[in-house]
């Protein structure tokens, strides 16, 4: 699966500009699904038919980005953030636009790091005047982190593991499930990072009986980190609660039973700040019992996110085990 994760994480796809990563996924899953469609917001909805309940699985395709808001006479680009980025992690970072234009991030003179904000930062794409910059980049174009996939053996570092690793888990499960007992809708969503938007409209369209998002979650296993009882390498998580959802008790039980039945290591997750696509799915129409399976991930929303490959493999196993459960 590492090749798949590499290909997905290295693809360009900030919120609202997911078409490149969507194409990668479409090509991979086309032979394995009964029906595939793209809705008006750009969500990719793939159905693998089964006799049971309608289950919506969601992993978001979009990643964070920087949108150009102004190009000055010397060719420097001002920007604002697309999704939750801290200005501190941008210093010295390299970014790349959809057309391949690369830039580095510079900062105006500041007295103290406390004064750092997006207004002080700019992207330098090596242009020496406005016209030269505008030949490559327009206002409204979005850059993403230029950081490749790095295989550390047991662990992986890359940009946008949030949530391309979730996309990879869905794709792998799709490959391995031949005749599903439930009616499965694999949804690769758009615009999660700007407010779980794609999941909302796709859930309305699908009218699922159950919802499950596969995303990353933060951990509490690094030096002096905020307390959180999730660690890398101890298995995928069964979410209990985050800012947007309280996991439906029935779904939580299905997930825990599926893990214990098959002896897959898992962790229970309470995320104090943050949410996923399930936050939108469970409030769709008349309400949808929903949950989240997360892959633990360090350094979320930075250019170098880290996951444990064993957690990814166990994530696929747990997802398959959940989906094999006959649901009522």
């Amino acid at each position: 699966m590492k090749e798949l994760i590499k290909e997905l994480t290295e693809a360009y796809g900030p919120s609202g500009r997911e078409e490149t990563v969507r194409k990668v996924i479409e090509d991979k899953i086309k032979p394995m699904v009964d029906k595939m469609e793209v809705d008006s917001l750009g969500n990719l909805i793939a159905r693998k038919k089964g006799p049971g309940k309608r289950v919506m699985l969601a992993a978001h395709m979009d990643e964070l980005g920087l949108m150009v808001t102004y190009i000055d006479k010397n060719g420097f680009l001002r920007f604002s953030n697309v999704g939750g980025i801290s200005p501190h992690i941008l210093l010295g970072e390299r970014v790349v636009f959809a057309n391949g234009a690369v830039g580095t991030i510079g900062c105006e003179k500041i007295e103290s790091m406390k004064d750092l904000n997006f207004q002080k930062l700019y992207i330098d794409i090596g242009a020496s005047e406005q016209k030269e910059a505008e030949d490559q980049v327009k206002i409204g174009d979005i850059a993403v982190y230029q950081r490749g996939f790095q295989d550390l053996g047991r662990r992986i570092i890359s940009k946008s593991l949030d949530d391309r690793v979730g996309c990879a888990v869905l794709i792998q499960a799709l490959k391995e499930i031949e005749s599903p007992v439930n009616d499965l809708f694999f949804v690769f969503t758009v615009q999660e990072e700007v407010g779980v938007r794609g999941a909302r409209t796709s859930a309305y369209r699908i009218k699922p009986d159950y919802g499950l998002a596969v995303d990353v979650t933060r951990t509490g296993d690094t030096p002096e980190s905020e307390t959180m009882a999730v660690a890398l390498g101890k298995g995928p998580t069964v979410k209990v609660k985050d800012t947007l959802i309280i996991t439906h008790p029935k779904v939580k039980k299905i997930m825990v039973d599926a893990a214990e039945r098959t002896g897959i290591p898992y962790q229970l997750e309470v995320l104090e700040r943050g949410g996923t696509d399930s936050g939108a799915i469970h409030l769709s129409r008349e309400g949808v019992p929903s949950g989240v399976m997360s892959i633990p991930c360090r350094y979320i929303h930075t250019p170098s996110e880290m996951v444990d490959y064993d957690d990814v493999i166990n994530g696929v196993k747990l997802l398959k085990s959940i989906l094999e459960t006959p649901l009522d």
Partner: protein, 346 residues
């Protein structure tokens, strides 16, 4: 001038009756149907030569303002804000209250009564009141009711070089644009015009209207911030007066449909209409709600730049308004029969 009438009428979020009646009178002779939904949105249908994609053109009627929340024994009136207003702009403004448009002044302690340290601080809304010249609580309550809406009194005037000043230009300018469009004839496809309520308190009307209409696509017409003024560096201007309608790529509520935005840009270029890209990703419009209605609705936003929005008086350039009408007009005339696909049209 239509914009003068619209700007000078009252319509604080939730209290849009007056402005809605004016708009209804303006558009009724030119549309097939006009109805008001449960939330108060005015939904009209303009007949075209044939039926195409279901399109809604949306603009909000409401303005930011205030609401009466209490009375002092002395007859002075306590109030709260409705929508986003900076407390610091309120003091000493002339306002009108309720359907009877009772005039009043937002009062606070006069300068010669303030202690030196008080003069250094801006006055909080809790320390302000509205004085309608009533001598007692009873007298005040005869004229003003709890929950009455309050709006600024600002005379609309054309000033300077093609500019106009007035209150509530966000979004009476959008209303003016849509009314002009609805008065025109011979569009190829039928469409809905929607004047929404309660945008300023959370884009509430638009979601309900979109749910009802089930549009295939939506175009929102707005008045947006122009910060092209002295204290703001160029990169913070957002939009510039006189440079034409602004197209939104992204704000805090929506990422607009790329195909529609490309189409609008192309039309502007082909027809010699100046346009600008809105250079800011904050704030939101009705498009945020519409785009996420039901299975999702491809949406775009075209805005008239306005300086000093959410204030007692703003300034816009009338040429920007005319060019916005032109852009919406060519959009309607050239709308592709099948709407827009997922990838855009470039």
């Amino acid at each position: 001038m239509l914009l003068k009438t619209l700007s000078e009428s009252s319509g604080v979020s939730g209290g849009e009756q007056e402005i809605r009646n004016i708009i209804r009178q303006q558009v009724s002779p030119h549309v097939e149907e006009a109805e008001t939904d449960v939330l108060g949105n005015l939904i009209v249908r303009k007949k075209g030569e044939k039926e195409g994609p279901t399109l809604m053109i949306v603009t909000h009627m409401d303005e930011v303002g205030m609401i009466v929340v209490g009375f002092e024994k002395s007859g002075l009136i306590k109030f709260s804000k409705v929508g986003g207003i900076d407390d610091r702009v309120l003091v000493s403004k002339v306002v009108q209250i309720g359907p009877q448009k009772i005039p009043g002044v937002i009062g606070a302690k006069a300068i010669h009564l303030q202690k030196p340290e008080e003069r250094k601080k801006s006055i909080k809304i809790d320390d302000m009141y509205i004085d309608i010249g009533a001598g007692s609580r009873e007298e005040a309550e005869k004229k003003v009711k709890l929950g009455d809406y309050i709006s600024f009194i600002t005379r609309f005037e054309e000033i300077g070089d093609h500019c106009a000043k007035g209150k509530a230009l966000d979004n009476r300018v959008g209303c003016a644009v849509l009314i002009e469009i609805l008065k025109k004839q011979n569009y190829p496809y039928s469409f809905y015009g929607v004047f929404t309520v309660q945008e300023e308190v959370g884009m509430r009307g638009a979601g309900a209207a979109a749910y009802r209409i089930k549009p295939d696509l939506a175009l929102v017409v707005e008045g947006t911030t122009a910060a092209d003024v002295v204290e703001v560096k160029k990169e913070g201007h957002v939009t510039t007066l006189g440079k034409g309608p602004a197209l939104t790529i992204m704000d805090a509520s929506v990422i607009t449909h790329r195909g529609m935005v490309q189409f609008l840009k192309k039309l502007a270029e082909q027809n010699g209409i100046p346009y600008q890209i809105r250079r800011f990703t904050g704030a939101g419009t009705d498009a945020g709600r519409i785009a996420l209605t039901r299975e999702g609705v491809p949406s775009a936003v075209v805005s008239v730049p306005c300086r000093y929005i959410h204030n007692p008086a703003g300034i816009l350039n009338l040429k920007d308004m005319e060019n916005t009408v032109k852009l919406v007009d060519v959009f309607l005339k050239n709308l592709p029969e099948g709407g827009f696909n997922n990838e855009g049209i470039d």
